[in-house]
Symmetry: C2
Amino acid sequence: MADVARAAGVSSATVSYVLSGKRAVAPETRTAVEAAIAELGFVVNTAARSLRTGRSSLVALIVPDIANPFFAQLTATLQEELRGLGLHVVVCDTRARREEERALLAEAVQQRFAGVVITPFRLLPKDLGVLTDAGIPAVVSADVPFGAVDQVAPDARAATRQALELVTAARRRRIAMIAGPRDATGGDPRLELLRALARQYGTALPGDLVVRGEHTREAGAEGFAELMDRRYRPDAVFCANDVIAVGALDKAHELGIDIPGEVALVGHDDAAFASLVRPRLTTIRYPAEEVGRAAARLLRERLDGRTAHRTVRVKAEFVARASV
Amino acid sequence: MADVARAAGVSSATVSYVLSGKRAVAPETRTAVEAAIAELGFVVNTAARSLRTGRSSLVALIVPDIANPFFAQLTATLQEELRGLGLHVVVCDTRARREEERALLAEAVQQRFAGVVITPFRLLPKDLGVLTDAGIPAVVSADVPFGAVDQVAPDARAATRQALELVTAARRRRIAMIAGPRDATGGDPRLELLRALARQYGTALPGDLVVRGEHTREAGAEGFAELMDRRYRPDAVFCANDVIAVGALDKAHELGIDIPGEVALVGHDDAAFASLVRPRLTTIRYPAEEVGRAAARLLRERLDGRTAHRTVRVKAEFVARASV
């Protein structure tokens, strides 16, 4: 540091401010220091630098619902993958609220986190600007494109098709969905996909067979009850995730409706409890481990200096159990 | 700040350093600044001060297993309770490893967290010294006394007694336990309690009816298989938590052992999935909401300036479902 200070004609403290970003430094001073660093042949390892300097060794994993086991698995994998870099994962639960999502991004900046992995729920792509401005690497895990950012996204087309094949092979035609809320970012891409594919199987999801709610067990129960009140009851119900599906199962038990006898039920994610409930849940598995590994890889590459944005697609898989 | 600086005869920057603790300041300078602050009649609100100054608004919740829904519920409650103070909760998963527990405490200090709530697994009471030294308020949630620190602890005596009453009323006498690992902090207090009470019901937990493992579903399955291999098979199995109990259920299904017909099964915690499995799990409910509220209250009081240590006891409750 003393060498750099001498070469740049500034104090060691100033060099430290430039490296750590802890204090404002005049642009020309910053340039002089950076030139001196380059001149003296220091290798700039972004990951190591962010660790050595003001940056913390914490990576924030921001999720809408920590109680959803999908995110517990994602956390575990991300930890495992980042441990070798000396990074620790802290999980932040936004409870699907945009104000919390934004507040936590602001915290990540304030605390100079080493990186952020986020599954946005109501956040808008522009909200990520605070991270970009602060030079904090971000990875988004979302079904819809999220702008100029590293992203992990599912490819659930084949799996959804398989689910529809099984459902329609059993001559079920009144297909319904308990979808996410209308104001979630990107609407509900799982609904859009199901709707697009359903047509190919000679059925459709009319408006009155789509109900919406939060990604909670309670919303699943309410949504299922609502659907069972329809004049033409659906004979197959897809759910935006497994938490919703478990709520639907609760309600089916309560109403004495046989699953899958009267109504087939399909979840999404294959969260830990999908195999615990009875009947065991047929679902579209979105492998949290692979999502976690992809997110860790994107983050690592970014810390190592990659600047172009990348999107990694993770294939979902149909898991036939006993609810269809 | 300018007023304080003038009164103390120092620069505004120095006042800022004293308040934020970001830089070392000579003791006499610190005293002068603090005297000026007092003289000028500024109210020192510890919580507000720690927020205003170098301290972050993050509270770390450090747990051994984020996939255990008990901790998801604890997180949700803690968030709800601390939101009003402008504090955000980040969850850190140690995977029950002491080195991770210690590393995360060090991070909390480094990042100047506003507080730490920890459920230690292998951590030793002395490891908390780094928090005390840094003046970071800590709340421990643990069954065993954890030294001079704020603590939330269960009172599970009555609930365990009720469980034993039900089990022994059905003439079950060969009571076993799948306990936590031997090297967990404080051993397994749930085992000690069960053992002490079992004697009062004319039974005992001989050494060969106690198996040990991590608090995981896999360990539960292995432990159950081991117990079923004993010459005198147990007819009732208590588990250190519900995650273990679910693993035991998996294995019982696999081995074709009827629960509760052949073996009664008792969990601990009443985690979210306890009511999902079949048969629904009879368990000792340790209410995560109350634990979270108590921890938040202890933290708040500490931020408000309380200096004496407090322990809050939270009553566990017996929940009879279908596995006994």
